[in-house]
Amino acid sequence: MASILLENVCLTFSVRQRMRLTLKEFVVRSMFRQSRNPRVEVRALQNVNLRINEGERVGIIGHNGAGKSTLLKLLAGVYPPTSGRRIVQGQISSLFDISLGFEPEATGWENIAFRAYLQGETPRSLREKVQPIADFSELGDFLNLPVRYYSAGMHVRLAFSIATAVDPEILLVDEVLSVGDLAFQEKARARMQQMMARAKLIVLVSHDLASLGSLCDRVVWLDHGTVRLDGSTQEVIEAYRQHVREPGRAAA
């Protein structure tokens, strides 16, 4: 039974004001003098309570810097919460920053294997998937070349093909609906819809309110790291649109 539960989750980034602290600065300034490079705390998420059950398709909306991607990474287990509880049941497949994380000197074929293994595939299970991944990417003979020769679009094609070749229980998606050129975008959209139909639980971050309207049955509106509204897609999107249209609204 796939489910996600967040109880009073807070996530605070502690960063240096100017740059990272060297050991020399740590010894000299932090111990003997007042630091000129103090820590600054950024509260990315504050007291977030969420329960998402199997079968739900949840969209996350909010202004830039509202904490949407951070929330997704926290759900994926990449960011541990500073306080509160995160309980996730089910195997997670995440689609964010997908064009990153290639071994530049390895070929496309080899990178398919690396990424697929990281997603939990084994050599046996990968054997059946590797050709469909290659076919979907439409990279042909380029797969025999090291990926450092690939263009940005080719990176994204390959990454998307690998990332969407799994059967996820929980699918976390961050703005990957517009990958590649126009023809590939159509294919990608169809693939996403197939994947979403198979997944037991979906959390989708997007600024494309029209897409969220057709894909999700529930939407969570994040505002400066807190849940401002959580409800049906129509209700929350309408409230968000009204908020955005408000004259004299402070810039996000």
């Binding site: 990449v78 995440s94 964010f96 920053d97 071994e103 294997a113 293994y117 595939e121």
Partner: protein, 266 residues
């Protein structure tokens, strides 16, 4: 009980992604050897050239027999290559894996493992050359003692992996750590009996430098079976195990403390 379960779960998670880290290690080795015309020989060229120079110089200056000094210094350089690679490449291991770390919550320990396995492979190749050199100069007298290399290499691998973890975490916390470690390793290189025999220090009343140096213990464990044809004493092997355990404990504590925070510092 809770700690035991946590450790078991962690080890199981490392095992689950074995195909991932193992394929990365294979890729690292393939990339390294494909680039050079000499293939495997390229990584051995540096210690072999260094050994040739040192043998020539010390043979001419002090009349040291090449048949004895050659395998001796080559074994020292092979060992040191492993330690310095684990430490200095370990500094970069989490940065190298940053994009993976930001996407998948895999156990962080697999990235220093990648470094240590690559370095371990080179060590084994280099030791094969030492073995060949010893057989060439001194005959097959060490065959009966070679089994003892297995426990030594195992403990040495634990040490290398631990060093990679510690260096990796330290370098994420303090970006100047790699430069400081380079200086520290340079000092440790000359304080370890790699180019000279430990007896030379003892004769000059500097034996404490060897006695307090864990690297000297591991080096003795390697050299006894390879060069002298006898396994290391149980006391020496136990001493090495103790250092290995200490390094593993330190790296385990370090990782347990920083594992959750490391992703925010990258």
């Amino acid at each position: 009980m809770h700690a035991t379960t946590a450790i078991t779960d962690y080890v199981a998670a490392v095992w689950r992604c074995r195909y991932f880290w193992f394929s990365l290690v294979k890729n690292d080795l393939r990339t390294r050897y494909h680039r050079s015309l000499l293939g495997l020989g390229w990584s051995l060229l540096n210690p072999l050239a260094m050994t040739a120079v040192l043998c020539t110089v010390f043979h001419r200056l002090w009349g040291l027999p090449i048949s004895e000094y050659g395998p001796f210094v080559l074994s020292g350089l092979a060992f040191w290559g492993f330690i310095s690679t684990c430490t200095l490449q370990g500094c970069r291991c989490f940065y190298q894996a940053e994009t993976y770390i930001r996407q998948y919550p895999a156990p962080l320990v697999i990235y220093p493992l990648r470094t240590a396995l690559g370095a371990g492979f080179h060590l084994v190749i280099a030791l094969c050359v030492v073995l060949a050199a010893t057989w060439w100069f001194q005959g097959l007298g060490n065959l009966g003692a070679l089994w003892s290399l297995l426990p030594t290499l195992l403990v040495l691998f634990v040490l290398g992996w631990s060093l990679a973890i510690l260096a990796g975490v330290a370098n994420v916390m303090f970006p100047d750590m790699q430069h400081l470690l380079e200086v520290g390793l340079q000092i440790l290189f000359y304080a370890t009996p790699i180019l000279y025999k430990a007896e030379m220090l003892r004769e000059r009343g500097q034996g404490w430098l060897v006695d307090l140096n864990p690297m000297a213990v591991f080096l003795d464990c390697l050299r006894h079976p390879l060069l002298e044809g006898r396994p290391p004493s149980l006391a020496l092997l136990g001493h090495a195990c103790l250092w290995g355990l200490l390094a593993a404990t330190a790296s385990g504590i370090c990782l347990a403390r920083w594992q959750r925070r490391l992703v925010f510092l990258l």
